[in-house]
Structures are given as structure tokens and as C-alpha cells.
Symmetry: C2
Subunit: 444 residues, 2 copies
């Protein structure tokens, strides 16, 4: 395999967490990357033939691991970070977020906000995200321009909450969005996003699902996020939210249900039976006081659960390393059991399980020969990462996004020693500040 | 005030969160520091006379604020970070932490671990900590050597849990410890730490309290941390833990009660009546599945509550910025109310309220003329801190320790643009790795 091999990138040294099925850990590996793919992973002493590499990365003080997968976010909401916090949910939405969105969301804002959020994600080790918002074509374009892997989902919501007023127009928008972005870039998967069972009619849910099934793309929906939602859906349809979606016929293995905080036992079983994927967003659920999702029960039932940050307005950052910390701890205290949600389990949710949620596990989520080279390096030469007994514990309980030093996406070095090689970060920040200035003027 | 003034350090620009009683925010301030103290804070345009400064810090893209106060930690436990996580509490303690402590805790280990932890704290903006452990003189020495402000508390615990076997010897140790460290450095306050009501007899609690009262130093105790503790104390003394301490006569305004997770209404009132100070350690309480302390109720009753990280074995870092995030969010979700624990409230807990807990509020906890110059700068030129609408929100919900760029303690720049000016960080890390290697060999 590695005799007289030419590679684009060679990574040497450090500790590799493969996140493979066997959770193999390789000390002092030699990793060859060519044409965007992981060509080989050699153990020390294994390789004797010379390898010619265009670029060699010294990882001797680093943890090497798959890039993190953020299974749910709304990138342009970076512009609403800290605009209005600690408020009752309806005050926050109706008096701040919705008015700000109505006034300021446009193509330019979505593109600028997406680049800002993508820069933040790369700086904290996320190499793949799944986004849903308005003007999603601008998010897709930003992802392609930045060289990050993405599932971008065009959002649908019924009047009066927003959106188009006829179903046929929504179907057209959905089909055009998928046509436009299918096959455009190997990094990009278009998808469709129905906002929720309480803002989308059964007809909208069903028809958009038809389009996503025909195109074989993911179908995303906020589901069972709050007790209020459960009450509303019960009032309208006489059944709880998951059951409502089952009756509507939209639950299948390409459905990504986000939040899933308030589930009855029967609904957990429905999610498992239909192989629905779940995106768990603990920090957003905590900040908005939505509740604590029954993730340990989901895992017991074999449901695939990935981790997400949600948008910056309800978090307020996109750092999956600190999100992992919260994900591990909130369930321990909520269950009064320190043994639930091991660090290892949580790190899987943020990598390989997240990849499964997005139907990308054949390409990403672990560092294995043949997969795409989405790899990050975490620099461990820091007091808060010393001593280093257990890499899983260290990443989940001690590290934060700023410990990520180098980010490779699809075989290309995007961030090196925390410097962007492609993105013009100063320009991104100054454009963002300008738009934020306008938003601030009109809030309240 | 500022005519022809000579100062040691001048800080210019940025946004100053004073954390004063009025929570004043000053944009573009000019802050003069001389002889360890804050000499003046000028508004822009106010000052006309020239100021000669030995060093000028440009804070134009920074949030300027008081250094953070960590009201509870066990620094040398940095050596047990990640040694054993996700285990049942008794397995963790009896099979990992206690054996490791029995084998490895000595003066050299405590000193090396303290320097490691101090380096971590400075890098994440903590300028004052309150520590309790064995060989506490080594912690005190490390604090003085590093130039950080500290309350160092000699620990007491009855046999068979450890400690000295006679009360008179404990009293002697307590008196000697206070004698040794009183007046040694303006940065250091010696104190006494009775481990808990379940590991210290009423006699030990009472006699050590007598020594601390005579010397007017803080008296620290873990209190009502777990449901098991409440059960044990009820079995032994027929009353819950706080009531037990009240009967023992050790509750007063110099008592720092750590954790206070399981409190009855009557005990909350006791804490308020005696003006007992509380150290809230949410991440440790979550990770060990101890429970969620009723902090919103404490605040309503006027109890002074500071924030703490606890030791690195149960957190696993000493980052108060991410601890603030957790402190704000855990109470929102636990109460199902997004309006409890505002960002501002939590930031007070990590600064001025923490200073009150340690009886140091006349000197630190806010940036005001006359106070000691314990000041940190947070660099906001980052994607995850952009846009910046609200500094309190940004610090609590979006920032992490790595955003701290510059740290001043007692008028001395300790960290500048994340480089240590005094500490030899490479030496600290390599010594720590050596000791950790020995610990790892003997675990299990």
C-alpha cells in the first residue's frame, strides 16, 4: 500500500482516535492523504518504504481525530447572538428574534452570517454541519466558498408564521433548491427542512417529504422541543407530535428529528421502529428552558443520535467541544447517575453517529482508510489538557474549541495552527460587524 | 486626580465592565494603575493632562473586567484529571482517587500540581482562588511564587478517612499553618478547611472553628453535597447537615459552605440568618450526579453565592468562563424558566460576589479606583464573539477561557497576549507529565 507512495498530506505522530467500529486508538501513526481521501494509516515501525509528501504535519503533541459533525444549526442566526437573552421564550421570539428576522434576513445577510458561523465552526473543529434557514442557497454558497462539508436544508413554514402561501409554490421551491445544488460539489448535500409540526400543516409536511423522498435527501424537522408544542399538537390532532408525524407518513430513516425532548415511551419506540435520526441540542434546550431530552433511553433503543449546537441565538456559540461537556453532564445530573453518557459515547455522537444522522457515514465520521480526509488536530500542550490519561475524557470534559489547532476537510488544510489558509477572516468579521450595527439599531 | 500622573500601567480603550454596585459600563476608558492599585478610571475626553506610564496596554478590541474569583478548588487534583471518569461515585473515590492520593500526594506533588493548576487558571482569567487540600503550605508557596491571589485552606479530616488522629494535634496544625502564612504576602490569606460534616466529628468542627475565629480567617466546609450525605448525617445526628452545623455552632459570616445542593427550606433560612457564604460548583455537581443546588432560592434570600470549579478530577477543568455558561443554563432548565440566572447575575457570582464570599470585596471583585488592580482583558476579535451586542451575554454564553488575552494581578502583568511573563510554563508542564507518569503506572 505505502511503497513509494506519493501523498498530498502526511500526518505523523500523536495519538489517533479513529472512532471506528472497534474504537481503535493508534499511537504515533503515519497517515497518508491523497485526492481528498485517507490513503493509509500506518502504525509506527510498520512502514519502511519512503513516502513522498507534498506537505507533512507534525502531530506529535496532538490528538488526531475525525472532524466534528454539527447535526443541527441555523448559521445566519450568528447575527442574533446575545441580542436578547434571559427572556421568556415568547418575549424573546416575538419581540426580538422574529422582528429582527423580518427586517434583516436577506441573501446578503444570510451569506455573511454563514461565513461568520463557518469560520467559528472551523476554529472549533467542526468540519460538517447541517443547516436549516431561509435563503438557504446563500448558506450553500458560503459552505462551498469556505470549503466546508455541509447538508444545507431549505426551510418551509406555513403562513402566518412566514413562508410561501401556496403549497404548490413550496413544492416548486423545494424541487428547484434540490436541482440547483445536487451534484454541485462533493462537499454539499441539499436537503429540506419543515420547521415543525406546529408551523407546518400535514399537507406541507407530506408534500415536502415526497420531494425529499424522490430526491433521496434528508428531511429535517424540529420535533417535540417544548411542552407547549406537545400541548398544541394534542389540541389540534389529538395525538402527541411523533405520533402525529407517523400518521402523516413522514417518519423514515432519512428523517432527522431535532430536539425530541418530550417523548412518550410509545413515541420513542416509533422513532426506533422508523429508524428516524435524532439531533440532540442540549445547550439550546437548557438555555431556552425546554427540558432535557431522554437521550440515554434513545441510545438503549438503538436510535441514532447526533449532537447539534442549534443557532447562536440560543446557545450562544457553535463549539461542539463544550457542547459535548454539557451533553455528558446534563444527563448524569438529570438521571442522578454518573455512569450514563460516557465521554466515549458523547464523542461518538459528535463524530461517527452524527455522520450516520446525516447519512454520510460511508464518507466521514471516522478516520479510516478509504474515507474522506476530514481530520482535526487538537494541541494538548496546555495546562488544562495536562496530564493526559484518557483522550476521550480530555476532549469531552477538559477541552474547548480553541484547542483545535489544525483542520483538514476533504484532504485540504483549511486551518493550520489556528490560521485560515483560505478564508479572509478580517473581511468576514468586518462585514459581520457592519450588518450587526444595523440590526442593533432596530432592536426594540 | 490625573494631572501629570505617573502610573505603572495605563489601559486604554475597549469596554470596561466595572462590576461595581451600579454595574457601570465605561466605553473607551483610560485606567491608571500604580503600586498595585487602580489609581483612576477616566471616561474618554475627561482627561487632558499628560499621563506618563511605564507600560500602556491597548484594550481597544477587548472587554476589560475584574479578574475572576474561583471560590472552591483543590488545585493538586489537576493530577487526577481524567484518571477515572463516568464511574459510580464510590468506585471512583475508593478505587481511584483515594488510592492515588494515598500513594502520590506529597509536598512535591502538591507544589507541582498547584503550579500546573495556577497556570491553567491564569490562562482562563482567574486571578483569585480559594483552595483546600493536604500539604496546603505547598499550595500557598506556589501561589506566592506565581504571583496569584489566593485563600489557601489547610484541610482537616478525621480518621479513618485520613488526617491526624488526635484533636489536639489538629489544633496545633491549624494554628501553625495560620501563623506561618499570616502577613507573609498581601496576596495570600490562610484559612482552615474541615472536609465535611460526615468526615469530621463535631469536636473537630468546633475546635477548628475556634482557631479560625480567633485568627479571623475563613472556615471552609463541603456541605449538603449529596443525598447520601444528608442520609448519613440524619442517621448520626437526627438532623440534616446545615442544622447539624448550626447545633455544632460553626455557622457564621466567615463560613464558606461549598455545594449546598440538598437543603430544606429551614436550612436555607439558617444559612441566610447566619450570613454563611456559599460556593456553587455546578459542573462538579453535574458530573458526579450530586444534584442541582437551589441557587435562585439562595439569591432570593439574600445569601451571598460565589462560583467555583471544584478540583479537576470532577470537572475536568478550572475554566470559570465555561463554568458560568453552565451555571446560567442548568438553573434555567432545572426550573423550566429561561429568566432565572441572568448572564449579569452569573458574572457577578464569578467576580464581586465571589470576592464577598472570600471576604475580599474591599480589595477585589470590581474595577474601581482604590481597589487592587486584578484585571483581565478578553479579546473579542473572534468569530464566536462577533457580533457583540451585550458583554455580559457574550462572556457567559459565548466565551471560553482561551479568550482571555491579558491578566493583571495586584498591578502586575502576569499574562500578556497569552504569554506568561513570569512562569516557566514549559518547565511546569514537563514536571507535571513526569509525576503523572508515576500516577498512571499505579492506577488499577
Amino acid at each position: 500500500m505505502n511503497m513509494e507512495t506519493d501523498v498530498d498530506i502526511l500526518i505523523r505522530g500523536g495519538t489517533l482516535l479513529t472512532m471506528s467500529q472497534a474504537m481503535e486508538i493508534v499511537h504515533d501513526p503515519v497517515i497518508g492523504i491523497r485526492d481528498g481521501k485517507i490513503l493509509f494509516i500506518d502504525r509506527p515501525g510498520y512502514s519502511t518504504a519512503p513516502i513522498r509528501a507534498r506537505e507533512t504535519l507534525d502531530a506529535s503533541h496532538s490528538i488526531i481525530m475525525p472532524g466534528l459533525v454539527n447535526t443541527h444549526t441555523h448559521l445566519p442566526m450568528a447575527f442574533f447572538r446575545g441580542l436578547a437573552d434571559d427572556l421568556p421564550l415568547m418575549d424573546w421570539l416575538n419581540n426580538h428574534i422574529f422582528p429582527a428576522e423580518a427586517k434583516h434576513v436577506n441573501r446578503e445577510m444570510v451569506y455573511a452570517g454563514s461565513l461568520l458561523a463557518i469560520a467559528e465552526m472551523i476554529l472549533s473543529g467542526t468540519t460538517t454541519f447541517c443547516d436549516g434557514y431561509f435563503y438557504e442557497s446563500s448558506v450553500a454558497q458560503a459552505a462551498i466558498d469556505a470549503g466546508v462539508r455541509a447538508v444545507t436544508a431549505q426551510g418551509f413554514i406555513d403562513p402566518p408564521a412566514g413562508g410561501s402561501d401556496t403549497l404548490s409554490k413550496n413544492i416548486q421551491i423545494a424541487e428547484r433548491f434540490i436541482d440547483k445544488w445536487s451534484g454541485k460539489s462533493e462537499l454539499l448535500t441539499p436537503a429540506l427542512f419543515c420547521h415543525s409540526p406546529y408551523t407546518c400543516s400535514p399537507d406541507t409536511l407530506r408534500e415536502i417529504k415526497k420531494v425529499s423522498r424522490a430526491a433521496r435527501v434528508p428531511y429535517i424537522i424540529h420535533l417535540a422541543e417544548t411542552r407547549d408544542e406537545v400541548r398544541i399538537i394534542r389540541e389540534r390532532y389529538s395525538v402527541p407530535p411523533v405520533t402525529h408525524l407517523e400518521k402523516t407518513g413522514v417518519l423514515d430513516d432519512a428523517t432527522i428529528a431535532v430536539h425530541c425532548v418530550w417523548l412518550e415511551e410509545k413515541e420513542l419506540e416509533l422513532l426506533a421502529m422508523r429508524d428516524v435520526k435524532v439531533s440532540h441540542n442540549p445547550e439550546s434546550n437548557m438555555k431556552l428552558a425546554s427540558g432535557v431530552a431522554p437521550v440515554p433511553d434513545m441510545l438503549k433503543k438503538g436510535i441514532t443520535v447526533g449532537l447539534g449546537t442549534d443557532g447562536s441565538a440560543s446557545n450562544n456559540n457553535l463549539d461542539l467541544l463544550t457542547e459535548m461537556d454539557t451533553a455528558a453532564k446534563i444527563h448524569k445530573v438529570f438521571r442522578m447517575d454518573p455512569t450514563v453518557m460516557h465521554a466515549r459515547t458523547v464523542l461518538k455522537m459528535a463524530t461517527i453517529e452524527g455522520a450516520k444522522v446525516l447519512n454520510l457515514a460511508d464518507r466521514i465520521g471516522s478516520v479510516e482508510a478509504g474515507k474522506c480526509a476530514d481530520i482535526i488536530l487538537v494541541d494538548t500542550r496546555k495546562p488544562h489538557l495536562t496530564p493526559l490519561y484518557n483522550c476521550y475524557s480530555q476532549l469531552v470534559y477538559a477541552a474547548n474549541g480553541a484547542d483545535v489547532s489544525t483542520v483538514i476537510i476533504n484532504g485540504k488544510v483549511i486551518l493550520k495552527e489556528r490560521r485560515f489558509l483560505g478564508l479572509d477572516i478580517e473581511d468576514i468579521l468586518s462585514r459581520a460587524r457592519k450588518i450587526a450595527g444595523e440590526i442593533e439599531k432596530t432592536d426594540r
